[in-house]
Symmetry: C2
Subunit: 409 residues, 2 copies
């Protein structure tokens, strides 16, 4: 340890144009500097209720149970699955990328019987395939990712809820990478549990995960309620279902904490809650439709700019996420050297990739506070310069011009 | 929803003198307003390594595996237990309060065989009783709380590690409520896994949980390593042990994330990490011995002040936590009315209690940034006024005078 304890926090002023985290909106970081409150002080519980109200429109829902999980986006995925799914339950996973594999991975640990309906990386799963798979497997839960950043594809969700309801299944959607950037209509689409994260389109830091839960899903979860020793109360009755396999991720207890019962569970992460509240205020203040349009413009601009530079965009054009774009690393170019030059010469981060796409694509994100015209243009201009320096011939200025035109298209 | 989206965050300036959370140190909140970094950017991984170095002295350890869990203090408890304990393993729980019951609760969900050695609330468990219980139950893990805020008692830990090592057990200690405020000598005491939280003596917000893991415990955890699909790599080999029952709390994967391997797992909660880093810098900058002395002075002052006001202090004097004190609610006084008046007239929060102590004691905390002479004196002065208003005769000024004297004693 150095005598100065490593000095004050002082990160470089970097433009984060990868698949997330992205730069937080300054209003979010400012809100997080407010001092703390006791967890049951009336002002704190009022803030909790405000957060519930603010996230309902963000999710496109009227669900009473709309709140935060205290952890990163992944924590809300696990909380949802472990609270909905008992060991031995059949779950159908809609799998079209790494985060579909993550659903499988979490469900294996829960002891679920896992059925899968898949698409190759770069495509999505047709609704008809999901319908057939539901008929074949009779799942208790159908789980899917909305936008899978590993492939940059966005699974269409309209119609999924109807398929589930007809077959008696509940649906779970991981919307970490799209919430606040692409349309989410949990009620219209009939989705039961949807979770998000702050560090993508909502423009906040990782560490708090919004969740919404339909009444039907809440009923299933409360049927498994088992209040922990030491805080049992006469007004909270245990359910008869199989006990949820985790205490921290026990949604029944967490819902009792966010209800008027105010059952003590964890100590709410107050600063993250302040941040989550401000993320929603920024998004709703802008207007969700305007926000989705801004992300769509950014996505169009990145795609157009990349193509004008002679690069190939990865994946199916018809089902592209608006906020993150995969670009094939050209033959003969060292993808990691390009990323290093982008960072070192321009203080811009662009993303690498996972699994079968590792070393094959870059991922350029433009989301939340970074889904802005000038940030997309700056990034493409920098990429042009770096590619030229790395020996890949790029028509001068073409990427930026094409992106500018596409932004307004 | 109101048209102004509930307005800007603007909590009252309240003095939080309960069992935690407490007011964060302003330096911590300022550090958290720094902008984000990409999770694998070299500056970010450097900050992660600094956090590891900064928390080693905080835990009194040289353990390589000293890092953060992304969640509240409770998340690190569950991560520790689910990663150390396989279903069917015998665990001895040292139980002397609500948070001992929490250990039991988490272990039940893991499927452990749970043995318990208990003390009544207000006392601690004698080391000899633990020794006997270990001999009787031959546990794989011995789990205890250090300071249990529900009873305000601090379990002595010296000697526990030796008992465990002799019997081949690993030890787990929940030091959420004491870390950074009372001495923690993980290595000297031979403890295997110790976890904390920021929102108590470390003077930060809830939402990030420091953890340290001995080499022996790391070996057991890595024997259960099972890297998730989608990010498997040739350089990371799975273990042969029983797979850890949670993905989010899989310490093997989280350790690979915090190692040079930088295995992608969750997206590190960057803002919370900045806060955790600053908490440690504040603590080490003050000096741990000075910090422990400050907390001890605060505890002495609260106890002396309460007694001088004619109040009875709860629990065993010999094993009192320094940072939170239980005070019996006098006969005929409405404890919740007192708490409400403290909050409404003085903007001071003091704590209620759980379980068998609910309605019987208040809990006054003085920890982290609030373990300060003036804050203790102000609190006791306010309590005197409130008690008098509620019809309980208090000798005027006696509490504050006694506390002032005890502070310097």
């Amino acid at each position: 340890m150095t005598p100065d304890l490593f000095g004050e926090i002082d990160p470089p002023q970097r433009l984060l144009m990868g698949p997330g985290p992205v730069n937080a909106h300054p209003r979010v970081l400012r809100a997080m500097s407010a001092d703390l409150l006791g967890q049951f002080d009336p002002e704190m519980t009022a803030y909790m209720n405000q957060v519930m109200a603010l996230y309902r429109p963000v999710f496109g829902t009227a669900n009473r149970w709309t709140f935060l999980i205290d952890g990163t986006a992944r924590s809300a995925i696990e909380a949802s699955l472990i609270s909905l799914v008992a060991p031995g339950d059949t779950v159908l996973v809609v799998d079209f990328g790494r985060f579909g594999l993550l659903l499988t991975e979490i469900l294996e640990r829960i002891g679920a019987v896992i059925e899968t309906v898949s698409a190759p990386w770069g495509q999505v799963v047709p609704l008809a395939d999901i319908e057939t798979a539901i008929a074949r497997t009779r799942p208790k839960v159908v789980a899917t990712v909305h936008g899978d950043t590993s492939t940059t594809m966005a699974q269409p969700l309209a119609g999924l809820g109807d398929l589930c309801r007809i077959s008696g299944a509940l649906s779970y959607v991981d919307a970490t990478a799209t919430l606040g950037g692409m349309a989410m209509q949990a009620d219209t689409w009939g989705l039961d549990v949807v979770t998000g994260g702050l560090q993508k389109c909502l423009g906040g830091p990782s560490g708090s995960a919004p969740i919404t839960i339909s009444d039907a899903a809440a009923e299933r979860i409360f049927s498994r309620r088992h209040v922990e020793k030491g805080i049992r109360r006469d007004d909270i009755v245990d359910g008869s279902g199989v006990r949820i396999g985790s205490n921290y991720f026990d949604l029944a207890m967490i819902m009792d904490y966010w209800s008027d019962k105010r059952l003590n569970h964890h100590t709410e992460a107050t600063t993250m809650l302040y941040g989550a509240r401000e993320c929603a205020r920024v998004a709703l203040g802008e207007g969700l439709e305007a926000r989705f349009a801004r992300h769509a413009a950014a996505g169009r601009a990145v795609v157009a700019g990349a193509r004008a530079m002679g690069l190939t965009v990865f994946g199916d054009d018809a089902h592209r996420m608006t906020n993150v774009t995969g670009i094939l690393i050209p033959e003969g170019v060292d993808g990691e050297r390009v990323r290093a030059r982008m960072r070192e010469d321009f203080e811009i981060e662009i993303g690498a990739a996972f699994g079968p796409l590792q070393g094959k694509i870059w991922r350029i994100g433009a989301m939340g506070y970074n889904a802005m015209k000038h940030k997309v243009l700056i990034t493409l201009g920098a990429l042009e310069s770096v590619l030229r320096a790395e020996g890949f011939a790029v028509p001068a200025g073409a990427g930026v011009d094409a992106a500018l035109e596409a932004w307004g298209a």
